[in-house]
């Protein structure tokens, strides 16, 4: 077996050193009834070529985003990732390292985490950020739990404004249900959710507002921040698409206390939904309630600058049942990909990329909404918008796929209802030919 260095001679010598006759003697503590004598009924080992062939056949059954005019979003976005990103994250020293618990031989990972935290803080307009969560939805759930900790458990209500991605709302509900956190959640419908402000009361620990929201609408967060702060609650700002902050105001500039969202759009591929990378940023004064790993600056015994994991007294390995979260492994390598892509872009590149996304989306929205039976719902948007169709969006998307076009995400896929709504995204990877193909096919289907 190509991955196992021991041979039969080695094994015999080693068993002799241990002082046992056979490998079975090392499993003596296993109850006899549970010992398997025979091989488990699964295929035997295979060559690299054979496994690769099998996997190649399987992947060929899928329609990949790069092989089609592609317009899907709704929490996962296709951007061009420079080749050097994937090359660098596959360096052995990054790929095959563990969590940096021995800082003297982990400065590569630690310095990139410090750079990552700084980039996330800058992008969101916040003071500090952690070293990542699993994804945007779990970061959202953790932020709500954090807000109840900030309120010392005295306020156990969270208001979720209606534009929150339904998966994020569901992940939050799943966690909240066993912690006694009450959610006031307005079902996802297009338009700003002024009603959410009225739901803030003295029991409210936080209000959660997404911008751009599920429908792509850009939400002015300031009224929510004012209302939250007036009631002694926190504003948690959520986002799905980090590239948006190359074009629109950051949540920090609008008064958010905690900012959480999905970082996949920078550096990380679609991966059928995972792994992605959850971004988590907040005000400095809240850091001791923040979940997850945090990297900090310090000095070594010679006084040279270095980095370590810090504030671990918040975490489960020290605090156990009193920890801020149970999270341990996070999205390390995806953070690295985010950081490298962001470094390649720089502010100028990010802004240019965002401008192209917006321009492509505007162009597409104008052309699609000119089709009979297609109406643009949004007043504002960045690179994603909502169409109201005179036909069932799910059936339209299936028909487009049959024509080789991945035309967007039906809202009903996320909510189970609103079957006439379709979410459509255009990023910088969309070409004029893609737009023309989409317009022609949708015109056909709607007539």
């Amino acid at each position: 077996m190509r991955y196992l260095p021991l041979n039969e001679n080695d094994r015999a010598e080693m068993l002799a050193k241990v002082g046992v006759d056979s490998i079975d003697d090392l499993f003596v503590d296993v109850p006899k009834a549970a010992v398997l004598d025979d091989l488990i009924d699964l295929p035997r080992y295979q060559s690299e070529a054979a496994v690769e062939r099998y996997m190649n056949r399987l992947q060929a059954k899928n329609m990949s985003a790069g092989a089609a005019p592609f317009f899907c979003g709704a929490g996962a976005y296709k951007h061009h990732i420079p080749s050097s990103v994937d090359h660098l994250i596959q360096r052995s020293e990054f790929l095959t390292a563990y969590t940096p618990y021995q800082p003297e031989i982990s400065q590569g990972t630690l310095q990139t985490l410090f750079e990552f935290q700084t980039q996330v803080a800058m992008l969101t307009g916040m003071e500090v950020a952690n070293a990542s969560m699993y994804d945007g939805s779990t970061a959202c759930a953790e932020a709500v739990v954090m807000a109840t900790r900030v309120a010392r458990g005295k306020k156990m209500k969270a208001v979720l404004a209606s534009g929150l991605h339904p998966h994020y709302a569901a992940a939050t509900q799943t966690v909240a249900q066993y912690l006694g956190i009450e959610l006031a959640h307005n079902a996802a419908v297009p338009g700003n959710d002024a009603n959410a402000i009225d739901q803030i009361d003295e029991q409210t620990a936080c209000i959660v507002v997404q911008s751009p929201n599920l429908f792509g609408e850009i939400v002015d967060l300031e009224p929510y921040a004012e209302a939250a702060h007036a009631a002694g609650a926190l504003l948690i700002a959520v986002f799905n698409e980090p590239v948006a902050f190359g074009a629109i105001k950051s949540p920090g500039e609008q008064g958010a206390d905690i900012v959480v969202g999905e970082g996949q759009g920078i550096g990380v591929g679609l991966n059928f939904g995972g792994p992605h990378v959850g971004l988590f940023a907040c005000r400095q004064k809240l850091i001791r309630q923040m979940p997850g790993r945090i990297c900090g600056e310090t000095v070594d015994a010679k006084g040279e600058r270095g980095f370590v994991l810090t504030l671990s007294t918040r975490e489960q390995h020290i605090r156990r049942e009193k920890a801020t979260s149970n999270i341990c492994t996070n999205s390390g390598l995806c953070c690295l990909a985010f950081t490298i892509h962001m470094t390649l872009l720089g502010e100028a590149g990010l802004r240019q990329m965002a401008a192209i996304n917006h321009a492509n989306a505007c162009t597409l929205a104008d052309k699609l909404s000119a089709i009979e039976g297609v109406e643009l719902v949004n007043e504002t948007f960045f690179n994603e918008f909502t169409l109201r169709l005179s036909k069932d969006a799910d059936q339209v998307v299936e028909a487009l796929a049959a024509k080789g076009i991945l035309g967007g995400v039906p809202v009903s896929r996320l909510t189970g209802d609103q079957k006439d709504l379709l979410l459509v995204t255009a990023t910088e990877v969309v070409t004029d030919e893609d737009i023309e193909a989409y317009v022609a096919s949708l015109t056909d289907l709607m007539s």
Partner: protein, 518 residues
């Protein structure tokens, strides 16, 4: 798995600086490297774009007007920066990485290639299901391997890491208890040797935690466990093999005891790599167990993730599994994504989309490459390697418990008594010898713990070199060469770092103000 900072110093003693210093701060191949904020500028970029089309803005007056401050670098500068940084990291591909409980085994590169195939890496989670049948088939096939290897009837695939899987299992138990009206069952038994995620997870599912002491042989104290049983017990969270690297001999009896009071058995599967192909947890009476695909099935640790934590569930719990899940109807696969109909009993959704597909592809590739015979051999080699280390060091170091171990060997610090050398010093001296230290000061039940997990990926030659280095260090410690240990490491990219200062005055990001003050 983590390294505890309890019971060890977190600030270094100052090092004398009379070593050979270079003019540049570089040390040969080891290049000094500043932060990107100190070498890049916001106007520099390493990406070329076409000009944007001229359009009427739809940003609704929310345009960003302030500078973000993000620095950019061109491509060659970026390569240099991150390659230089990479060389300050230890890695499996460089040498023995014996972190106990972390399972730092070889990461086959075929797995990386497969994960990047466009049909896996470049598919959107919400494409029409008719366009992702291969992806759903892969999830279903991996689930089949997992259920077969564990001897369990069902698996929840969406948890994103081990701790997320623990949460999944405990939430399934909570949902089952609630559905049965057993709302008085809120106490969860957790051995004191448990990883910190266990009590943290139980607490986040609304349970209270009751610790069970360990017995003298490093296992659950069965008498103490029996005393803790009661009608309010919701279940137990037990790692097997446990964090001392020992198989819980009484595990079947423990399962029966927990079931006898109407509780459920959560098994932490972090150490399943010691059992694959030789023991099926389903035969031990467990109700739920997560698997760390990034440990047992070799998806890369990546400096801290991403992981994946699929969680197997018993017949009693499986209806409460999280959304979404894959169902095979004839030749077609489909996702159940909503909490009505087939998903009505689910405890809910744990995350956006369908789990860690990028880890699923790697793990299935690993499983198929090994096959049932290779997986069993890997398990046996991992256990043999750990026992070989334990036997080869038992005369100069002190194994914490007698007898054979499973996949990891646990030592305590008795062999360092009266030497002036601590476990931390010993670990840092290993760095100078070219090895990543073992897990230290964990589990908490052993004083100055050193938990060594070699995995099956080490050859006998590598193990012999490692053993020779460890023996040499043990001799030096016995000779009371304390200065040698206390100043270590001196050959690493950095000397010991001051963790106390980092926590007392947190500097968690670069700012111009901080930079100017330095």
């Amino acid at each position: 798995m983590s390294m505890s900072s309890k019971g060890r110093p977190t600030s270094p003693v100052a090092a004398n600086s009379n070593e050979h210093e270079t003019v540049s701060g570089n040390k040969g191949l080891m290049q000094a490297e500043n932060l990107i904020f100190e070498i890049g500028t916001p106007r520099r970029t390493g990406v070329d774009f076409e000009p944007a089309k001229d359009v009427r803005s739809r940003l609704g007056g929310m345009e960003r007007t302030s500078e973000i401050g993000l620095p950019g670098l061109t491509e060659p500068q970026t390569l240099r920066h991150y390659v230089r940084l990479s060389q300050k990291n230890y890695a499996i591909d460089l040498g023995v990485y014996p972190l106990g409980s972390c399972t730092m085994k070889h990461n086959p590169r075929l797995n990386e290639k497969v994960a990047r195939m466009p049909g896996f890496g470049d598919v959107h989670p919400l494409q029409p299901q008719s366009t992702v049948q291969g992806a759903l088939e892969l999830i279903d096939e991996l689930a089949h391997w997992i259920c077969t290897l564990t001897g369990m009837p069902a698996v929840a695939m969406t948890p994103k890491a081990g701790a997320h899987g623990e949460w999944c299992g405990m939430a399934a138990i909570r949902a089952k208890l609630d559905a049965d009206g057993q709302t008085h069952k809120r106490r969860v038994l957790v051995p004191e040797s448990a990883h910190g995620t266990n009590p943290a997870t139980a607490a986040q599912c609304g349970f209270s935690i009751d610790e069970i002491p360990a017995s003298g042989d490093g296992r659950v104290n069965l008498a103490a466990l029996k005393e803790k049983l009661g009608d309010d017990v919701a279940g137990i969270m037990l790692t097997n093999p446990n964090t001392c690297g020992l198989f819980e001999r009484d595990i079947i009896e423990i399962a029966e005891l927990i079931h006898s009071v109407g509780g459920y058995f959560y098994c932490d599967g972090a150490n399943f790599n010691a059992l694959v192909g030789r023991v099926r947890p389903g035969d031990l009476g467990i109700d739920a167990m997560h698997l760390n695909l990034h440990k047992t099935f070799s998806t890369p640790h990546g400096g801290g993730g991403p992981g994946a934590g699929p969680t197997v569930l018993s017949d009693a719990l499986k209806d409460h599994a999280p959304l979404p899940f894959v169902i095979k109807d004839g030749e077609k696969y489909r996702l159940v994504e909503h909490s009505n109909g087939e998903g009505a009993d689910s405890f809910g959704r744990m995350c956006a989309f369908h789990g860690q597909m990028g880890m699923f592809t790697r793990a299935l590739t690993y499983m198929m490459s090994h096959g049932s015979d290779g997986l069993r051999q890997a398990t046996e080699d991992a256990v043999l390697n750990a026992n070989y280390i334990q036997s080869s060091l038992s005369d100069v170091m002190t194994p914490a418990f007698g007898g054979v171990c499973m996949h990891e060997a646990l030592f305590d610090d008795r062999f360092l008594e009266n030497t002036g050398v601590t476990t931390l010093d010993f670990a840092k001296a290993m760095i100078d010898e070219g090895y990543h230290p073992m897990t230290m000061y964990f589990p908490l039940v052993v004083h100055g713990a050193m938990l060594v997990e070699p995995t099956e990926s080490e050859s006998k030659q590598e193990l012999d070199r490692f053993i020779s280095a460890m023996r040499g260090l043990a001799v030096r410690a016995k000779n009371k060469e304390t200065a040698f240990f206390q100043t270590a490491p001196v050959h690493a990219p950095m000397r010991r770092l001051d963790e106390t200062q980092a926590a007392r005055k947190p500097v968690l990001r670069w700012t111009e103000a901080v930079a100017a003050s330095e």
